[in-house]
């Protein structure tokens, strides 16, 4: 896919959703940037397969959102929801259903597995990033208290 037009489309799309989710005006930029990060990592790791590219992308996005939510003092979901939306497998879900309607069940199965893989990947990435962040934070606190 043409890189720049897709990136632009991603940014516009996540801006739209950030507005629909009524993210505060002073936090819009960071939410949209999160969508951009999700797309960039996904695009760069596409060869790794559906699960891994989704996992890495959601890992990177969640790390960004955790950091920016600490800086901006807002709940993580404020940034996470509009940015992770970019990864949602809307396309494969649609093609699953349309294959079912055309009664091409082998295509439908393949697409369904792809959808499931993507969902699992996103969830795994978010969990991993939150875990990583909590562990890092607790180490940081320990280091501060011993100093």
């Amino acid at each position: 896919m043409p890189f720049f037009s897709t990136l632009l489309a991603t940014l516009i799309g996540s801006l739209g959703f950030a507005l629909l989710f009524s993210v505060k005006p002073n936090k819009l930029l960071y939410a949209v940037l999160g969508g951009g990060i999700a797309f960039l990592v996904y695009y760069l790791t596409q060869q790794a397969g559906c699960f891994f590219s989704n996992m890495l992308a959601s890992l990177a996005t969640t790390l960004w959102c955790e950091i920016i939510s600490r800086v901006k003092k807002a709940p993580v979901v404020t940034f996470l929801k509009p940015s992770i939306l970019v990864l949602v497998p809307g396309g494969s879900l649609y093609y699953t259903v349309s294959a079912l309607l055309n009664k091409t069940y082998d295509v439908a199965t393949a697409r369904l597995i792809e959808t499931a893989e993507a969902c699992l990947g996103i969830a795994a990435g978010v969990l991993l990033a939150s875990l990583l962040f909590t562990v890092l934070l607790s180490f940081g606190k320990k280091a501060k208290s011993t100093n």
């Binding site: 896919m1 037009s5 897709t6 632009l8 489309a9 991603t10 940014l11 516009i12 799309g13 996540s14 801006l15 739209g16 959703f17 950030a18 507005l19 629909l20 989710f21 009524s22 993210v23 505060k24 005006p25 797309f39 807002a74 709940p75 979901v77 404020t78 929801k81 509009p82 992770i84 939306l85 970019v86 990864l87 949602v88 497998p89 809307g90 396309g91 879900l93 649609y94 093609y95 259903v97 349309s98 079912l100 309607l101 969902c119 699992l120 996103i122 969830a123 795994a124 978010v126 969990l127």
Partner: protein
């Protein structure tokens, strides 16, 4: 439904009831505006503890919060809140988070909570036309993201406008599943007609773009995350709900394709 101190009879409510009611007010709004389950539970626990509770139990699923609290003088309170409708309102979520923080560090007295919540609820961060535009941008942007052309983007944006119009004007008593069917049916009709008159080029890309406005895809991955994180009940409820919703969208689109099959 909603209870508040002001509606209670003149008799002053016991302190335990007041504290728990305030905590649940915040928790309820966090859940209704799209907060995570563990955030709801944490917040309620933290508020109650800050007001001197020595024992707090909270359990929450997406449609219900149950909590009990015991103060040091031995007085008990047990309350439930039923949640009927959730949406993504991250502005309200953030405001509730702030209120909870202010309650906990003592800068907001219990008596001023209710007006503060009402004020946060009535605030609209964006004007209506911008929300219509946002819906159009979302659908159009994702039509291109999934491989559509700029003409698909314009068609997607038009269908996005239609969807937001429907979202605002379908009356609330319509069953949410039927609501989804109606919206996806009309979105499907819109997409097919726009391709038929020659504005759009790929029906599937337009539909995928508009699907993003309807789809519970975010909920699907949240459900998996809940389950992996140990919230089995919440996870499976969300999972079931989003699968059902996806089926309803498919049903609506299938209806649209069948009824306009001569044009496809």
């Amino acid at each position: 439904m909603q209870t508040s101190f002001s509606q209670l009879p003149q008799r002053e409510a016991p302190l335990a009831d007041q504290i728990l009611c305030a905590a649940l007010d915040i928790g309820e709004h966090i859940l209704r505006s799209g907060g995570e389950i563990h955030r709801v539970e944490d917040t309620i626990e933290r508020i109650c503890t800050a007001f001197g509770a020595c024992y707090v139990e909270v359990f929450s699923i997406p449609s219900l919060i149950m909590a009990s609290v015991r103060l040091e003088d031995g007085s008990l309170s047990y309350q439930m809140r039923r949640i009927y409708h959730t949406e993504n309102n991250l502005y309200l979520l953030e405001e509730m988070n702030k209120l909870s923080r202010r309650l906990c560090d003592g800068t907001l007295p219990l008596s001023e909570l209710r007006p503060a919540i009402e004020k946060a609820k009535s605030a609209r961060p964006y004007p209506l036309w911008l929300l219509y535009l946002a819906s159009a941008l979302g659908a159009g942007g994702f039509a291109v993201f999934f491989g559509g052309t700029w003409r698909d983007a314009i068609s997607g944006a038009l269908v996005g406008l239609l969807l937001y119009l429907l979202q605002r004007h379908i009356p609330p008593f319509v069953n949410p599943m039927i609501n989804t069917v109606i919206r996806s049916f009309l979105a499907g009709i819109g997409g097919i007609l726009l391709v038929y008159i020659g504005l759009g080029q790929n029906t599937d890309k337009i539909m995928i773009g508009t699907i993003m406005l309807l789809i519970p895809g975010l909920e699907l991955s949240t459900a998996v995350r809940d389950m992996l994180g140990g919230d089995l009940l919440t996870g499976s409820l969300r999972f079931l709900q989003s699968v059902l919703c996806a089926l309803m969208i498919a049903f609506g689109f299938a209806l649209a394709i069948f009824s306009l099959s001569s044009l496809v």
